[in-house]
């Protein structure tokens, strides 16, 4: 926990400083663009792609535009590298090592063009190439698409606002229709706008962020210049709620205009590109290419001060009467009063706050102390810094320094209000209400209240799985749990039942409704076991919650009918079919089907039926685990069964696209033991709670010597005097790959050999065979520490050492040699899915009664098969 949070803090700090002013020479700009470009540069938003550009009036390239776009998102902490997976951006052939291109691709900000795929001889189709074309000019319509994506990342087009430019609208009958944005465009050349760009062109024009190019033409295929791009992105950047919107933004002041009047009688005006602070004939100018905001207060000492916020995140403090520059403080100011200058550590997003006095003395640092961080970690409180602004403009957070009480502060960092005295966690905002859990009494129960802290309602009596439970999230990734079927904004949650300290599998399913702003829960069923929500494909259909009865299972472990509810009615799906288990299969064409099993026959030790059914449980096809693709947690996966050496099986899912979901990868695939030991010689090597690999002369408790740091070291192997191990970089959420290290036990020298490891398959006398993050198989020669590609395959199973069997996607179960290449086809019988190979001389025992393993003649070795 500690490691993770500090890691996040460091990561945020690194991201915040990832950009710097990369203008390496004096540049030419147009007069109209000067202010935007100057401020954009002061904000450190210029990236290295423009380092060698000396004339910003020239066209910007696609790559340079993407860099600037990422720069804005990095600055606002709306992008991070957590999603990036090298296997994904490796498909792009023209991005090189450019950090921003990788970031944009990894975060799916841009899509590769000219995607190409190929099918290899084993029937595996892979995307082989994609191009970003970073050196080509970017067209206006493509810039609009990326600009709209940037707006989306800044939440501008999300939540309530999202509907403004949604892709679908509803007719009078409630049918969802695709909005024909192209026909909404009023430009004379609207027909020239590409279909994929029509929505973006419409939105950017509607927002006033992009305009026609004269004579009512948008010129979608025209190129944009560097300064046009900067001006566009800076306008977008300003939309994000900074500590303050720059004074006078959007006001064209050909003649002097009043911006605001202060309580002490001073007025702030704007004339041209200059702000003025005025009173009694004194006028103090503040250039808008230096200063973003002015704050003026009459202090307790009788002096009048002006705090002028610069774009370089410092604040100049002036005597507003004499015009003296008194002091510069190195932080961002967001307000002043009679005694203090209120500052914050960063202007974007939620942050930490601090105080200065007018002498420039720091009263309260705008950063966490280590003791505060320790306190936070110890208490597990959410950090304000990572709480997100809700769509209503407030930032909600549990204050770790104040007993976890819930506060809200507006997006300018002002108007902090305590809204709950409870010790709160897991705070969510949906549809105008807050949902949260509390500690202490009613631990784990779900509560809701209005954003101002009123109308507190306890929703669940027992531990609640949360509004955002796996079952109730839209499959399209939308965070809303509300079901808008027939315009009913239903939300559901599950409450658990506890009796005498036992939590029952039977659960209570509630629906939330609201009347006059008051939350009401209505019991849908008191007998909910497994639950799965099938979302309607569009809003003209109903979404249903499918569930089994749990009551009967608790009592007699028998099967249950499948039920479904839309929140209003509960109905039995099929009263002729009882099931033991059901699990969803999302087909690649978007349908949802169920894999059902049941009832279980004790005599035959098998299910009476095991098939794929439609949502009415009608038979579709016998279930073939190898055949069906699944979508689990939104990730397209293959279901993989793994045979252990004792003949038992374990199951896991393998993402088909290796760029998908780091935690899923790690959680489901990494099965290696952490306490692998070398029993030969005098060494014992293990990874315990000390986060590292050690050697010791006495496995029972001798002095340990750390060889390598790492919290998730596994697959330790010894080759001569060198140890090899795999580190999955546990705790580093930016990585889903593993690194194989070698450690020389004599010299202690440690080397990272390869860092693209998905999992180790097996080890031979002189090589480690592993699956790479691109799911291709590789061989690490430990004599030379070189890596080579071997027999390609995307579906690996580990069936003991040193031989592995696998079905290559269509027919054969294959035996591989120690170099990873196919050495024999063991069977082409498609009814045989698993085999265990036991080399002659191995003492591995296979329990043939378990699962019904059938011995097969195979020379001097032993071979078992399972249909």
């Amino acid at each position: 926990m500690k490691k993770k949070i500090i890691g996040i803090i460091l990561c945020a700090a690194m991201l915040a400083t990832a950009t710097s002013a990369f203008a390496r020479e004096i540049v030419h700009v147009s007069d109209w663009a000067y202010n935007d470009v100057s401020v954009f540069t002061s904000e450190d938003l210029i990236t290295e792609g423009l380092a060698d550009v000396s004339d910003y009036r020239q066209n910007i390239t696609r790559g340079q535009f993407i860099e600037l776009m990422c720069s804005v998102l990095i600055k606002t902490i709306q992008i991070n590298k957590n999603y990036v997976h090298p296997a994904w951006y490796n498909y792009f052939e023209d991005i090189g090592d450019n950090y921003y291109y990788q970031l944009a691709i990894g975060n799916h900000l841009v899509n590769g063009e000219t995607l190409e795929s190929e099918t290899n001889e084993y029937g595996v189709t892979t995307v082989t190439r994609a191009r970003l074309r970073p050196d080509e000019p970017i067209t206006r319509q493509d810039a609009a698409v990326l600009a709209l994506e940037t707006l989306g990342r800044l939440d501008f087009t999300r939540e309530e606002n999202y509907t403004v430019y949604s892709t679908t609208e509803f007719d009078a009958d409630g049918r969802g229709l695709e909005i024909p944005y192209k026909s909404k465009l009023t430009y004379d050349d609207a027909d020239s706008v590409a279909d994929y760009a029509a929505r973006a062109v419409y939105a950017l024009s509607d927002l006033g962020l992009m305009q026609g190019m004269g004579k009512n033409n948008f010129e979608p295929l025209g190129n944009i210049t560097v300064e046009q791009a900067i001006s566009l992105l800076y306008r977008i950047y300003r939309i994000y709620p900074h500590a303050a919107y720059p004074d006078g933004t959007g006001i064209t002041a050909d003649t002097e205009k009043t911006i605001k009047t202060y309580e002490n009688g001073y007025t702030e005006t704007k004339l041209g590109e200059t702000l003025y602070l005025k009173k009694d004939g004194v006028s103090i100018p503040f250039d808008t290419d230096i200063y973003s905001n002015i704050y003026c207060s009459t202090a307790s000492d009788g002096n009048v001060y002006a705090a002028a916020q610069t774009y370089s995140d410092t604040t100049d403090i002036f005597n507003a009467v004499t015009g003296e520059l008194l002091v510069t403080i190195p932080v961002y100011t967001y307000k002043t009063d009679a005694d203090y200058i209120y500052v914050k550590a960063a202007k974007s997003g939620a942050t930490t706050f601090g105080l200065y006095d007018y002498s420039g003395k720091e009263i309260l640092p705008a950063k966490y102390s280590m003791s505060e961080i320790d306190y936070m970690i110890k208490n597990g409180f959410k950090e304000p810094e990572y709480s997100r602004r809700a769509p209503d403009g407030w930032i909600y957070y549990a204050d770790w320094s104040d007993g976890g009480h819930m506060y809200r502060v507006d997006s300018n960092g002002e108007n902090k209000q305590k809204i709950s005295d409870e010790d709160c966690y897991d705070i969510s905002y949906y549809n105008g209400r807050l949902y949260y859990h509390i500690r202490g009494k009613d631990e784990g129960c779900l509560f809701t209240m209005l954003p101002d802290g009123s109308d507190v309602t306890k929703l669940s009596d027992g531990f609640c799985y949360g509004i955002l439970g796996d079952f109730l999230t839209y499959e399209d990734g939308s965070p809303l749990s509300a079901d808008y079927t027939q315009n009913k904004p239903y939300m559901f949650f599950l409450d658990s039942i506890e009796k005498d300290g036992v939590t029952y599998s039977q659960r209570l399913l509630y629906r939330l409704t609201y009347e006059n702003g008051k939350a009401h829960k209505e019991l849908v069923t008191d007998d909910c076991g497994s639950l799965y929500r099938v979302a309607a494909k569009d809003k003209s259909e109903k979404s249903w919650l499918y569930f089994t009865s749990a009551k009967t299972r608790v009592d007699d472990t028998s099967e249950s009918y499948l039920y479904r509810t839309d929140g209003d009615v509960v109905e039995c799906v099929n009263d002729k079919v009882k099931i033991k288990y059901f699990s969803p299969i999302t087909t690649t064409d978007g349908r949802t089907l169920f894999h059902i099993e049941g009832p279980y026959n004790d005599e035959t030790e098998s299910y009476e039926y095991d098939y794929v059914a439609d949502l009415d449980l009608n038979y579709i096809e016998e279930y073939d685990d190898e055949k069906w693709e699944y979508i689990v947690d939104g990730i397209k996966v293959k279901h993989v069964s793994t045979l252990n050496e004792d003949g038992s099986q374990s199951f896991s899912y393998v993402p088909i696209d290796p760029s998908d979901n780091a935690e899923f990868y790690k959680g489901k695939i990494s099965g290696a033991s952490k306490d692998d030991a070398l029993s030969d010689d005098k060494y014992s090597v293990y990874d315990d709670n000390d986060s590292g690999m050690f050697y010791t002369s006495d496995p029972e408790g001798g002095e340990r010597h750390k060889l390598l740091d790492g919290a998730d070291i596994s697959d330790i192997q010894r080759f001569g005097n060198k140890l090899y191990c795999l580190d999955y970089h546990y705790g580093d959420t930016s990585r889903i790959d593993g690194t194989i290290y070698s450690v020389d036990m004599d010299t202690g020298e440690t080397k990272a050999i390869c860092d693209d490891v998905y999992s180790i398959i097996y080890t031979t006398d002189n090589a480690i065979l592993y699956t790479g993050t691109d799911l291709n198989r590789r061989r690490l020669d430990v004599n030379t520490d070189t890596v080579s590609e071997v027999y390609p395959n995307s579906n690996k199973n580990r069936y003991g050492k040193p031989i592995e069997f696998w079905r290559n996607g269509s027919t054969n179960l294959t035996k591989l040699d120690e170099d990873g290449n196919m050495s024999d086809i063991l069977t082409d019988d498609v009814n045989v899915n698993y085999m265990i190979y036991v080399p002659n001389g191995s003492n591995t025992e296979v329990d043939i009664n378990r699962y019904g393993w059938e011995p097969v003649s195979y020379g001097d070795d032993r071979l078992y098969r399972l249909g």
């Binding site: 100057s38 004194v282 002036f318 003296e324």
Partner: protein, 85 residues
């Protein structure tokens, strides 16, 4: 702590002699100025600016063609600059 007089009237009073001493530089001269140059070296090279911000971060030069050029300082050295057309 450096204290600088910033009253508008004083600015106006200072502006006249400052403008009289201000250099007019060519676009080429200005463009050739390497970023990272210290303020004293800039002045030695280009002469005095037409205007300077009170906090010392910005100086504006008049170009011979009538345009203007802007230098921004950070830590006493040029940080970036623009020739404005």
């Amino acid at each position: 702590m450096k204290r600088k007089i910033f009253a508008a009237l004083l600015i106006a009073a200072l502006a006249a002699p400052s403008a009289a001493l201000a250099a007019t530089v060519s676009e080429g001269e200005f463009a050739a100025l390497p970023l990272g140059t210290s303020k004293s070296d800039v002045h030695a090279s280009l002469g005095n600016p037409e205007t300077a911000s009170v906090n010392g971060v910005k100086e504006v030069y008049r170009l011979t063609d009538g345009g203007r050029a802007v230098l921004m300082y950070s830590g006493g050295h040029t940080y970036f600059g623009f020739i404005v057309h």
